[in-house]
Amino acid sequence: MEKVLMKGNEIIGEAAIRSGCKLFFGYPITPSTEVVEYLSKHLPPKGGTVLQAEDEIGAINMCYGAACTGSRVLTASSSPGVSLKQEGISYSAAVELPMVIVNVNRCGPGLGGLGPAQSDYFQSVKGGGHGDYRLIVLAPSTAQELYDFTMQGFDLADQYRNPVLILTDGFLGQTMEPVVLKERPEPPKVDRSWVVDGAKGREKRILASYSLTNEIGEDNNLRWEKKYKNIQEKEQQWEEFHTEDAEYLLVSYGTTGRICKSTVLNARKKGIKLGLIRPITLWPYPEKAFIPYKDKVKGIVTVELNTGQMIEDVKLAVECKMPVHLYRRQGGMLPNEHEILDYVEDIFSLTAVEEV
């Protein structure tokens, strides 16, 4: 397995190729454009197709059509583009189509800026489009995770017949880091009896989401709900860092989840028992991670690149049993590890204990 130095967005492209993805439909938008650029160069020689659509609405609906045939398909965009895709994503969830969607989050709302942000958290996990649906959302924080989570995304999409969203950000997308280009894991055995590829020697099939009667509508919703509950039960993923004896916890994902590790290490040097829970799946939210700490930890700080979104899910996960505060930067700014620790010490009035 080679280890190479690659830019974040390009790593997503390479991982998709090695996952057997043959189709990419997209539209340029900073800071995600390298995905379509990389694939435009490297997918066709592998017999794949890259189509730059007329806009993101066209792109997501092309993904919808391709996914109906059971083909692995990818699209990538950034915040405003992902907003345009919401209707298509809702339809894809309703028809239960496997596909991988990448959002390289940039700051918003509106045109916003090109800097990194986590301002699309709600859009990603609470359903940005219409109707009762959920996307499996993975939040990478390193180059290697960009690679691994893209591959994992395709398998989860097939396994649960559901769109998967890779929520990354402008910082990760533009940063070059070494990455190990692992071989593709054995794809899950999945039922293919639903694909639409021409009714040759079989009954005709229809893939659509119109429910003629309310009874059918209710049945559909109950069926989706059962699937989502199953995913919530089995697919919660997170990383813990110095949590065994933690008195205070940081909760943070993606780029900030990585910065928080330095904060934890600095805190430990000062004798402050700080730990980190880093959610990896943002949906299903890793509530299980908080169970051991609900009655042990004195306080939590969530560190986000928005004005407070994931904090709501943390409060729910700990049932508001202890104070949960927010440290955040937004508009494209990134916090450094020191200002986070200063905030933790201040908010929980931890006078500096002697240097350990």
């Binding site: 043959k22 189709l23 439909f25 197709t49 189509l51 659509a53 007329e54 806009d55 609405i57 066209g58 792109a59 609906n61 092309m62 993904c63 919808y64 059509g65 391709a66 996914a67 109906c68 045939t69 083909s71 398909v73 209707e87 298509g88 339809y91 028809v95 639409v196 590829d197 021409g198 009714a199 040759k200 020697g201 005709k204 099939r205 229809i206 893939l207 659509a208 989401s209 119109y210």
Partner: protein, 250 residues
């Protein structure tokens, strides 16, 4: 005696859901017969719109995918790019293709996407109860042009096939009608040619079919055919608007 006219194998036995006299059904029969005659029912994937015609996914015997309103072209392209050797056709109303779906249809044509597109022009939004469409005729009363379409305020009706015909990738564009047996026969020929264009992989093919909407036009089925002849045919250029040499040679 021999049965000389029967329901095509391209149709299921599900009764059409359209209003009495609505010629959506006629157009679907023609497409079904073409699929049967070209022996491509099993290789064809149809893309249904949102609107009255949305139910066509139950009437054809080939595989079908329901597209969001306006997005049938993009969905069809996704299927065709995934399965280039299958036949893909889109079926859309005038609002679906020439209002909300405009950009997808124009770029499908510009790229010469190898799919067959059927546009049904009845100058109104049917399913939602008779609103003004881009194709609504001047002076025509609809629920959103209650005083009649005013070309100054609402713009003149759009001849969408003409727009598409200007694009390089559109190799066959025809505007036909199903208002009479003679025109129904011509419509079928155009539809068949549009599918043959796809089979030969020559580029984008569009057939626009003038159709009636007795319920929302507020007329009997027979009167609506006459109204179509007197009011729509003069506005929309009929016939084959574009036929490249390769298509001619088919």
């Amino acid at each position: 005696m021999e049965k000389i006219f029967a329901r095509s194998k391209g149709l299921t036995d599900v009764a059409f859901s359209f209003c009495p006299g609505c010629t959506h059904g006629t157009i679907m029969r023609l497409i079904a017969e073409v699929l049967e005659e070209l022996e491509i029912i099993e290789d064809t994937i149809g893309i249904s719109p949102v609107g009255c015609a949305g139910f066509c996914q139950n009437f054809f015997s080939c595989d079908f995918i329901g597209a969001p309103h306006g997005r049938a072209q993009a969905v069809g392209i996704g299927v065709k790019r995934a399965l280039p050797d299958r036949t893909v056709f889109t079926y859309q109303g005038d609002g679906d293709i020439a209002a909300i779906g405009t950009q997808h249809a124009i770029h499908a044509a510009a790229r010469g996407e190898k799919i067959t597109s059927i546009m049904v022009n009845n100058a109104i939004y049917g399913m939602t109860g008779g609103q003004m469409a881009p194709t609504t005729i001047e002076g025509m009363k609809t629920s959103t042009s209650p005083y009649g379409r005013d070309n100054i305020l609402d713009g003149a009706p759009m001849d969408f096939p003409k727009v598409i015909a200007n694009l390089e990738g559109a190799v066959y564009v025809a505007s036909v009608s199903v208002d009479s047996p003679k025109n129904i026969k011509k419509a079928k020929e155009a539809i068949k040619k549009a599918f043959k264009v796809q089979q030969a992989g020559l580029g984008f093919a569009l057939v626009s079919v003038l159709s009636t909407c007795p319920t929302n036009w507020g007329m009997t089925p027979v009167d609506s055919l006459n109204w179509l002849r007197e009011n729509m045919m003069p506005i929309y250029e009929m016939g084959e608007l574009k036929v490249t040499e390769e298509v001619e040679a088919l």
